[in-house]
């Protein structure tokens, strides 16, 4: 495996396995999007520009030494938080949600930035803390996670908020959160569920969860999406209906076919076999991340790779679970496949940083 190409004056940091599998996934994504958008070339061209830019960005972000990310992690998170505040003030409102900052040429979904900045910052904060993490540091970390979760959640963007929250918890867990604390707090959370239900969930979110538990509750409201998605997936069968042959997507029965529900389009047109091929690519990427994390040069790199790859994994599983109807609809794109700007780019950024963490080696001290 080539990780470092050394030339005369400089080195290139690169992981061919991740690079090839991500590129393959992105290109497949373009084909899926072509079908999901009912052959709209404009959408596909726009998306391929993002993909191309994303791949370049990933490559560029692999080059700096992990110390660069470690040193500037506080700066990143402060910037990210400021962007969220800016969104609150200057953000563009779409469908009652203020999640986007308009830069003229590009509309940035600011929660996507914090999704990456938070794991890096936490890694840099926790990498030198003795095991197990002390109560003091645990609480500081948790306070930060909850604060950021609340910022994102109040946009409102529960989906990304959950991913940010989970990402923070992963890092804390991987960094060595004491088991005693885990079990105690888990018990407390279970006990406080009713309170959270009544005070933190918007009525439409409660409705989504209720509908999820009993779909007959609301035949044409929230569960319409799940029902149509299930029909699309189920009717794909073992081998699918064929490229661009999915009636659920082509006749607009499937909502959000280009974004959140693109998996249903893939399942309808390529069947269970296609789903297995696609998922094995994702699976390969995740396994590669474990390998890279285990071989990373220090604790900071390990935590960062672990945290970011788990952000990626949880985004994927929330999306998949939502589309097949095993978790409520929260609005979550499929990484590298769904149409999108910020959310798409965020994963190229994340993997750029993962590659940087994995490829830069340092001589052992002493």
């Amino acid at each position: 495996m080539k990780k470092k190409l050394t030339f005369k004056n400089f080195s290139i940091y690169f992981d061919q396995y991740l690079f090839i599998s991500i590129t393959l996934l992105s290109v497949m994504g373009l084909f899926f999007l072509y079908s999901a958008s009912q052959g709209d070339l404009n959408t596909v061209i726009k998306q391929s520009i993002f993909v191309g830019f994303g791949l370049i960005l990933m490559f560029i972000l692999s080059q700096p030494d992990p110390d660069f990310y470690k040193i500037f992690s506080s700066l990143f998170i402060i910037l990210a938080i400021l962007l969220i505040f800016a969104t609150m003030i200057f953000g563009r409102e779409i469908n009652g949600a203020k999640r986007w900052l308009n830069f003229g040429f590009f509309t940035l979904q600011t929660s996507e930035i914090i999704k990456i900045a938070l794991p890096i910052f936490l890694a840099s904060y926790l990498y030198d803390k003795p095991l197990p993490i002390s109560l003091k540091h645990t609480f500081i970390t948790l306070a930060l996670i909850l604060f950021i979760f609340y910022l994102v959640y109040s946009q409102p963007d529960l989906g990304t908020g959950l991913v940010v929250f989970m990402a923070g918890i992963y890092i804390l867990f991987l960094a060595g959160l004491s088991w005693k604390f885990i079990f105690t707090s888990f018990g407390l959370i279970v006990l406080s569920m009713p309170f959270l239900w009544n005070n933190f969930l918007e009525p439409f979110q409660r409705q989504r969860i209720l509908t999820f538990i009993d779909p007959s509750n609301d035949p044409f409201g929230s569960s319409w999406n799940i029902t149509q998605s299930k029909i699309a997936i189920g009717s794909g069968g073992m081998s699918g209906k064929g490229f661009q042959e999915g009636s659920q997507a082509n006749l607009n029965f499937l909502p959000e076919a280009e974004t959140d529900f693109i998996f249903a389009v893939i399942a309808e047109e390529f069947g269970f076999l296609g789903v297995c091929v696609l998922l094995s690519l994702f699976f390969f990427i995740l396994l590669r991340c474990i390998y890279l994390a285990f071989n990373a040069r220090d604790r900071f790199c390990r935590l960062t790779i672990g945290g970011l790859s788990l952000v990626f994994a949880s985004t994927l599983f929330i999306n998949l679970g939502m589309v097949v109807g095993i978790i409520p609809v929260v609005g979550m794109p499929m990484p590298f496949i769904s149409k999108g700007g910020s959310s798409l780019l965020s994963f190229y950024i994340a993997f750029g940083i993962i590659i940087s963490m994995a490829t830069h080696k340092k001589l052992m001290q002493k």
């Binding site: 003795p130 060595g176 029909i231 997936i233 009717s235 995740l286 994390a293 097949v324």
Partner: protein, 612 residues
């Protein structure tokens, strides 16, 4: 800084924890894969069906209703394609604004405007189309085509109108059609194994079903079967492409036994007087003429009528909607006498040689009550033949007096009284053949001998419809054998209804026919005025139904000042003799004389039938 041991412990802990997370994700992933597998493989069939159901929509295609012919193959009722201006009522917010926008392009008369305004709300509620104007002219179509863009919810299309070529002749026999109610449509769709809830509001509009007459009796045959167009639609229900077209099965044509010419003659002869004419082909039991007057136009009723015009018909005191032929109850009066005569012969109460004095009245021995004949002073010495010809009440009072009431009732019911005599008439009435039980149950009185006496001259509680009288006439003509009446032969299991008479031979029947011929041909016959109206021999029996009982001609003159008190005129006839082919009955309400008022109508109808 942490030392090397700690570094190793940290690495181990990290790795263990990463594995814990991945194992957790592994579970989630397995669950996800299981779910996908069950959707795509285990439950594939269900979801495939659901996906197909999602994208296909069925629209019903109407069959064209069958044509109704007369017995010589002339069309009575047809479907006439017309170009109609149609609106989607549910999409129009203000119908008055719509109509005023429309007025410069297509003019509507006041009846049409009324019709649109009256029906708009209901059609909008049920999402049905509303026909604003029927039968547009070429100019109107051209005008609308030019400016139609102003009316996105209106369009011109071909619709079939049910058109009766003789709208007033057959109003009761053939009946009319009308819009279908939701319940009716549901049951029709069920019977054709079609889905209803989804298609009920989407079927092509203007479907009509038979409401009365043959249109109703044979509706199932006439209506045909719906076809289907299967479309592919998108999520908003918009048309994508046509997938399949199952052609509708048009309704079968109906070949009736009705005779347009005889019908026309009967209708003209009735001249809008209240009454009915029914004529029958004796051998087959076919109804060839069936008229109830006054009448109304079925075309107006079938194809949209304003409520003003409809109310005028409903409130008409002559009740044009009332089907007198099968629902009007009239005392048979003297027309019952041939049946009573047969009873007397069958039961050996009298024979053709028996005679008695007719003083003009009959005194009931039990209570000395007097039953009067129609002629003061009576008819002198009468035998059965004379009693028939002059219609002697005394003779038949006396004969009935000697009769067993239960036997007599059974005998009369064999001639169709109090029974259903028609296989396919619309809602026929059985009228009333009174029995002692009936009287006790309904009037709380026992049967008096006087009731039996009254039965002998067809008065009292006994009543019959013109249809039953025509049947009775044909049974007499055919010497006791008959077929259940019907309008269509090949469609019915026609019952043979033979009367078992053991003591009555062919000679008796011939002598009975002879006496009925005498009713017209004899110089003393009650219908002798009919002699000159024909060129062949006809057997008949006239009757005059007393509505108000009077003792003298002077009294009658007083009560006849009120037209509604005048006697009904009634006649049964059959001919040509001696081998009769047609039997007929005529009732004219308040017509006063069976022989000279109802008689000419009967003869004219027979002329029209026999003249061929």
């Amino acid at each position: 800084m942490i030392d090397l041991n700690e570094r190793y412990a940290e690495k181990k802990s990290f790795f263990n924890r990463l594995v814990v997370v991945y194992v957790f994700f592994g579970f989630v992933f397995s669950f996800f894969l299981y779910q996908t597998y069950s959707l795509q493989v285990s439950e594939y069939k269900d979801y495939e069906t659901a996906a197909i159901a999602n994208k296909t929509k069925e629209v019903l295609v109407q069959p064209v209703r069958g044509i109704i012919y007369d017995r010589s193959g002339k069309i009575i009722v047809n479907n006439v394609p017309t170009y109609d201006l149609i609106v989607k009522a549910s999409l129009i917010k203000n119908i008055d604004a719509f109509l005023s926008d429309l007025s410069p392009i297509i003019e509507l008369d006041s009846d049409e405007l009324d019709y649109v305004r009256e029906n708009f709300d209901l059609k909008a509620l049920y999402n049905r189309e509303l026909i604003v104007k029927k039968n547009l002219s070429r100019e109107e179509i051209a005008k609308f085509e030019v400016r139609g863009y102003k009316f996105p919810n209106a369009f011109i299309d071909v619709r079939y109108s049910r058109y009766n070529n003789y709208p007033e002749l057959f109003s009761h026999a053939v009946g009319y059609v009308g819009g279908v109610s939701n319940d009716e449509l549901v049951s029709i769709l069920n019977s054709q194994a079609l889905p209803q809830i989804e298609t009920i509001f989407k079927y092509s509009n203007g479907f009509q079903i038979g409401k009365t007459g043959l249109e109703s009796t044979y509706d199932q045959i006439l209506r045909g079967k719906f076809g289907k167009k299967i479309f592919e639609v998108d999520a908003r229900g918009r048309f994508v492409e046509e997938r399949e077209f199952i052609k509708p099965k048009n309704g079968e044509n109906l070949f009736t036994t009705l005779d347009i010419e005889a019908q026309q003659v009967a209708y003209d002869q009735m001249d809008n007087r209240r009454g009915a004419v029914v004529a029958i082909e004796i051998d087959s039991g076919s109804i060839v003429s069936y008229v109830s007057t006054p009448s109304f136009s079925t075309n107006a009723i079938s194809n949209g009528i304003s409520s003003r015009a409809f109310n005028a018909l409903i409130q008409d005191k002559d009740k044009p909607f009332f089907d007198r032929a099968s629902q009007g109850r009239y005392s048979p009066a003297s027309t019952i006498k041939p049946a009573i005569a047969l009873f007397g012969i069958e039961n050996n109460i009298i024979d053709w040689d028996f005679s008695m004095e007719d003083p003009g009245y009959f005194i009931l021995p039990e209570d000395q009550r007097v039953y009067r004949g129609w002629r003061k002073g009576g008819h002198g010495n009468v035998n059965l033949n004379k009693a028939m010809i002059v219609s002697s009440n005394t003779f038949f009072f006396s004969l009935a007096y000697k009769s067993d009431i239960n036997k007599l009732i059974e005998h009369l019911s064999n001639f169709g009284f109090g029974t259903k005599v028609c296989a396919d008439c619309f809602n026929p009435d059985k009228a009333l053949l009174p029995t002692p039980e009936w009287k006790m149950n309904n009037l709380n009185f026992g049967w008096f001998k006087g009731d039996t006496v009254n039965l002998g001259v067809g008065q009292g509680y006994l009543s019959a419809t013109p249809l039953q009288l025509a049947y009775y006439s044909s049974v007499l003509a055919n010497k006791g054998t008959s077929k259940e009446l019907s309008f269509i032969h090949e469609k019915q299991d026609i019952k043979n209804l033979n009367i078992q008479l053991n003591n009555t031979d062919d000679l008796d029947w011939k002598r009975l026919h002879q006496s009925m011929i005498g009713v017209i041909e004899s110089p003393i016959g009650t219908a002798k005025r009919l002699q000159e109206l024909k060129t062949y021999t006809v057997a008949a029996k006239s009757g005059t139904v007393e509505l108000v009982s009077t003792d003298t001609k002077e009294d009658y003159k007083i009560i006849r000042e009120n037209e509604g008190n005048r006697d009904h005129a009634i006649i049964i006839a059959f001919g040509p003799m001696p081998n009769p082919k047609y039997a007929v009955s005529v009732v004219i309400e308040n017509g006063e004389s069976g022989g000279s008022v109802a008689g000419p109508v009967a003869i004219a109808v027979l002329n029209s039938l026999i003249g061929k």
